[in-house]
């Protein structure tokens, strides 16, 4: 299921989305349309387009750059797929083909295929999650770019950023983060936002830390599983050497290890999926929430500055009207952001709790399932081995 990864909340909304998009008689969608949306309806019930990773990024950036959406948590863009490890291994496999035994080769190939598949599934999931989040958002789903993204069946011909743009982005980020520090230093009038700000700052750092640590943990778990795999195959060769009792014993143990390593690998993969990916997602999402707070803080500072400017203008009785309009604009902007941001942050929390709950429950269940499977294997193997002696 598409939205499996991030909480049941999404799932419902997404299925809703599907109905809205797809069904002419879908109540929600129709009502939206009826309310006079200027967006063109989808021309077809069913359509498909091919999109690249860069196009996802483009969509995300278009959201970020749109002033209209300043008051929303922009769904974080999916991370770039990382096939480096796989590619490296593939290369190694190609090089080492001559020096390996056939079993080793097939085994390594299988390993690689499994790994490739896992990364692939993960990447698909991340991209899906992004689209689902957008589709589930009451405002963003009506975005024109989003519809173009979904419907336009030609290449969007977005290109990756060139070096100059990247450099610009970098400077923008530096400025932004410096500004962010300044803005963050401003005491907020609203307790809710003040609290959210401190919370998010801390939360983001910790989730970042936890995500990095979980990655490391899972990586070593995977290497341990790989070791067991290799032990199994060596035991197997050892067992096929001869036909003595000991060799039969080795074969049995090898068979067991082969199975347990599969379980261990699954444990690692599931931890990756349920835990690390969750943390990673919330790392990005909390960054997005932080960005929202930054935009609000920026607006607040602008508003306060405008207020000061207005006071000054009034004192000097000069350009009062202009200052008043600026102040009005700033005030409106700030209030608009504040209003939607409050709801967004509350939603963020609900989503987060739901997602954590779902994933943690699933994690525990999977861990239990695997441990029980492992236990079962060990039990039966020990039974056989002990029965033999």
């Amino acid at each position: 299921m598409l939205v499996d990864r991030l909480g049941s909340g999404y799932k419902e909304r997404f299925s809703l989305f599907n109905e809205q998009e797809g069904l002419d008689d879908g109540p929600d969608f129709l009502s939206e349309e009826d309310r006079g949306s200027t967006l063109p309806n989808f021309k077809q019930n069913e359509f498909s387009v091919v999109r690249q990773h860069e196009e996802f990024i483009w969509l995300h950036d278009s959201f970020v750059e749109n002033e209209e959406y300043a008051g929303y948590i922009i769904p974080p863009a999916p991370p770039k797929p990382d096939f480096d490890a796989s590619r490296e291994k593939l290369q190694k496999l190609g090089e080492g083909e001559g020096s390996m035994t056939k079993e080793e080769f097939t085994k390594m190939k299988q390993e690689l295929e499994a790994e490739y598949l896992a990364i692939f599934k993960k990447t698909v999931a991340m991209h899906e999650v992004f689209l689902c989040r957008v589709a589930a958002h009451p405002v963003l789903r009506k975005d024109l770019n989003f519809h173009v993204f979904l419907e336009y069946n030609q290449d969007l011909s977005v290109r990756g950023k060139n070096k100059k743009e990247k450099l610009e982005d970098f400077f923008k980020n530096v400025v932004k983060s410096a500004d962010g520090v300044l803005v963050a230093g401003v005491k907020d009038v609203d307790d809710f936002f003040e609290h959210e700000k401190t919370f998010l700052l801390e939360y983001h750092n910790r989730v970042k830390d936890a995500s990095a640590k979980s990655d490391r943990m899972i990586r070593s778990h995977k290497s341990a599983a790989d070791d067991i795999n290799r032990i199994a195959s060596t035991l197997y060769t050892l067992g096929t050497q001869d036909s003595t009792d000991l060799c039969k014993f080795f074969l049995k143990v090898s068979e067991l290890f082969e199975k347990t390593r599969k379980i261990e690998a699954r444990v690692a993969a599931d931890e990756d999926l349920k835990l690390a990916d969750l943390l990673k997602y919330y790392l990005r999402e909390s960054q997005a929430a932080k960005d929202l707070l930054y935009r609000r803080g920026r607006a607040l500072v602008d508003y306060e500055n405008a207020n000061k400017a207005l006071d000054k203008a009034r004192a000097k009785n000069k350009d009062v009207l202009q200052a008043e309009t600026t102040q009005q604009v700033c005030c409106q902007k700030f209030e608009k952001i504040s209003e939607s941001a409050k709801q967004e942050l509350i939603d963020f929390k609900t989503r987060r709790v739901a997602a954590f709950r779902k994933n943690l429950v699933e994690l525990a269940e999977l861990e239990l399932k695997h441990a029980k499977g492992n236990l079962q294997l060990l039990h039966s193997c020990l039974g056989v081995l002990k029965g033999d002696t």
Binding site: L23, E46, V49, R51, Y116, I228, C247, N374
Partner: protein
């Protein structure tokens, strides 16, 4: 929207993510994804199963793995099951009906013959050597041995006792037997009756016996040393044997071929009779094992054309026949419990060393008391090994090697205070030393060695010298090893014995594989340690995350998760040490032991080389004699003839030595194989149990966590 297809086009540039977004009417729930074709994948159907992709790949591998295994496991079973039946049924019935058929019975079951001989002989060797110099009263021997000696075989008495019993026979039998109940005598007489047949058998196979006849009167030097050592043992051993003797005597009168034991009896009796016979003719003892071997060799080819099955079945048969013996043997083993405890640092600085408490618990009467404790340092253990290998390795005995010296590890211990790595080092060494000592005492003939006993009992040992890695002696040793290696390469032995040929190959292969396996297990240990460390760090991180989470239930759940991860970290840690101590160390031990086995093979090869050299020398001398004859120089002819007889004697002696060492090595290797199987079985099961325990704990932890996760609202 729900159908998302990713088609990474994998050519050289690896990935181009293409997303195919497709909006469907009712596809909401049934979103399908088809993964991309894997590069080079020959099995596209594997990829169809996208959800269980990992399984799809490995699933096939499993079935592939599975299928060959039943094939490979079946044949051995046959081998395993059939021979023993032969062993048990044939000799038994034959004996019961006609004693004459003993020889016949032996032929159909060569494996049993070999088996029992191989296992029971190593000491016969000694005992023969023993008794021969003291043949002052061969008559009583003749009368009694038929009863006692075979019986001890029959009962499958562990060699240790038998050796002792035998010695006792030599000295104490005449009076004992006379004082014994008449039943014993009856048994003896009945045995004697049976023996005649065997003697006849012996005569039926004259060539073998004849070849033995030209026996040099002076036994090889090493034999004497053995004799000496054994003689020393004697006074202490006395009590035990008498008990044994009495027991045997009591059980003996029962209907002669008492079931079960009779199979080994035929063999035992047979070989013993030969010994007796040779002793009676005041032959020197050394030829008895050789007789056996000759017999074996004679019998083997005739029975089974392909020699390989014989080898394997012979190696298997003993384990079967020895199953019965094992009970007593294991009993024997429990009689001697050695444990090494309390490693303690003595001294300071670079002169510091670790002293280990070696506690022995035994009911063996060869020791002065039931429990005793000594303190030994590592070099003492090495010294023991040096002594043992000096004495026994040229006989082809497998001397268990001690753990390696580790300058780095020890230096750490010396310098470092309370470092976990040095504590681990000490514990590892302690365990290794314990296993080493246990292996030494479980070797029936090494246990008899006075040095072993001294090591276990004596309060103060002279400081073992020349065990230091960086000493002059160490250097010399290295030099010796190097020359050995060179000479080994130069010796081109054309292996006559298929068994040895295969075994040497097997051992080499096995060592190679074990080394590989060991490397992998070590890496598993390291990764598991890493995992444990990373889990600990993650646990802390999650705890922090939990503390900053503002939803109470989620915060609670996260801190619970942190706790679970903390426990799991402990679990991984324990498992890592289990990986290491039960699995990795076992492999390390056996890599060392296989090295020792190869050493045995080398000793045998050396003996063969000596024999061949002597053969060549003899050839030269003969040529010289022919030349002299031709040149008609009678004055030097006599000297040449003398030389020829001298070298002939040497050739026979060396040949005999070679055969003896071959027999010993073979026995040792079979014993080793059996012990290896038992060790692996025990240790791996122990290891799996530790894994089992880990999984149980894991289940417990996650079970406790699940409600917490569900309580998040």
């Amino acid at each position: 929207m729900s159908l998302c297809h990713f088609y990474p086009s994998l050519v050289i540039k690896f990935f181009r993510v293409c997303v195919c977004v497709c909006v469907e009417l009712k596809m909401a729930a049934s979103s399908e994804r088809s993964p991309p074709p894997f590069p080079d994948s020959e099995e596209p159907e594997l990829l169809e199963d996208s959800d269980e992709g990992a399984d799809a790949f490995t699933g096939t591998s499993i079935s592939e793995m599975d299928s060959p295994s039943p094939d490979s496991t079946r044949p051995p079973k046959d081998i395993f099951n059939e021979p023993p039946e032969d062993i048990f049924s044939d000799p038994l019935s034959n004996i019961n009906s006609e004693p004459q058929k003993k020889v016949d019975a032996k032929i159909p079951s060569p494996s049993s013959d070999e088996a029992v001989d191989l296992f029971s002989d190593p000491l016969d060797d000694d005992s023969e050597v023993m008794s021969s110099p003291e043949v002052q009263n061969p008559m009583p021997d003749l009368l009694n041995e038929p009863v006692e000696a075979p019986k001890s075989d029959v009962l499958g008495e562990p060699p240790v006792h038998r050796d002792a019993a035998r010695q006792q026979d030599v000295f104490e039998d005449p009076p004992k037997s006379s004082s014994k109940s008449s039943s014993v005598k009856k048994a003896a007489s009945s045995e004697m009756f049976g023996d005649d047949d065997d003697d006849e058998d012996l005569f039926k196979e004259p060539p073998k016996v004849v070849t033995k006849k030209p026996q040099p009167s002076g036994p090889p030097v090493d034999v004497f040393t053995e004799v000496k050592s054994d003689v020393k043992v004697k006074p202490q051993v006395k009590d035990d044997p008498t008990d044994l003797f009495a027991e045997e005597a009591l059980t003996a009168p029962a209907p002669k071929p008492s079931a079960g034991s009779s199979s080994s009896r035929t063999n035992g009796v047979h070989s013993e009779e030969q010994d007796l016979f040779s002793e009676a003719t005041v032959e020197l003892s050394l030829d008895s094992p050789r007789n056996d071997r000759k017999n074996k060799d004679a019998v083997k080819p005739s029975v089974s054309a392909p020699a390989a099955p014989v080898a394997s079945s012979s190696s298997k048969a003993p384990s079967k026949t020895l199953k019965e013996l094992e009970e007593e043997e294991s009993e024997d083993k429990f009689d001697l419990n050695i444990s090494i405890t309390n490693p303690e640092k003595v001294g300071d600085g670079m002169n510091a060393y670790m002293a280990y408490k070696v506690s022995t618990q035994t009911s063996l009467t060869m020791f002065r008391s039931k429990t005793f404790t000594v303190r030994r340092r590592f070099s003492d253990f090495l010294g023991l090994f040096e002594k043992l290998s000096e004495k026994h390795s040229q006989n082809g005995y497998l001397i268990p090697p001690p753990p390696e010296k580790s300058i780095l590890g020890m230096t750490k211990v010396k310098v470092g205070k309370e470092d976990p790595s040095s504590a681990e080092f000490v514990e590892r060494r302690r365990a290794a030393l314990e296993r080493y000592l246990q292996r030494v005492v479980s070797h029936p003939s090494l246990l008899q060695d006075p040095d072993v006993r001294e090591f276990l009992e004596k309060e103060e040992l002279p400081r073992a010298v020349s065990t230091q890695a960086l000493s002059g002696a160490g250097f010399l040793k290295m030099l010796n090893k190097a020359t050995d290696a060179v000479s080994k390469m130069t010796i081109k032995m054309n292996e006559q014995d298929v068994w040895f040929d295969e075994k040497i190959q097997d051992v080499e292969n096995e060592e190679q594989h074990l080394r590989k396996l060991h490397v992998m297990v070590e890496s598993l240990v390291n990764h598991r340690k890493e995992l444990s460390g990373n889990t600990a760090v993650f646990a802390k991180s999650v705890a922090m995350l939990g503390s900053s989470e503002d939803n109470t239930a989620l915060s609670r759940a996260l801190s619970q998760l942190a706790e679970v991860e903390d426990r799991i970290e402990q679990l991984h840690q324990e498992q890592a040490s289990n990986d290491f101590f039960t699995f990795s160390e076992l492999l390390a031990d056996y890599i060392r032991l296989l090295g020792a086995v190869r050493g045995c093979f080398d000793q045998r090869m050396k003996a063969w080389q000596r024999w061949q050299d002597a053969e060549n020398m003899l050839q030269k001398k003969r040529e010289a004699e022919a030349k002299l004859l031709w040149a008609n120089k009678p004055d030097k002819l006599q000297q040449a003839k003398d030389e020829i007889t001298e070298w002939e004697a040497k050739v026979t002696q060396y040949e005999r030595e070679f055969e003896r060492i071959s027999a010993t090595v073979r026995k040792e290797v079979i014993r080793f194989d059996k012990e290896k199987a038992r060790d692996f079985n025990r240790q791996v099961i122990k290891y799996l149990e530790s894994l089992l325990h880990s999984q149980q704990q894991l289940i417990k932890y996650w079970d406790a966590f699940l409600p917490e996760a569900k309580a998040i609202v």
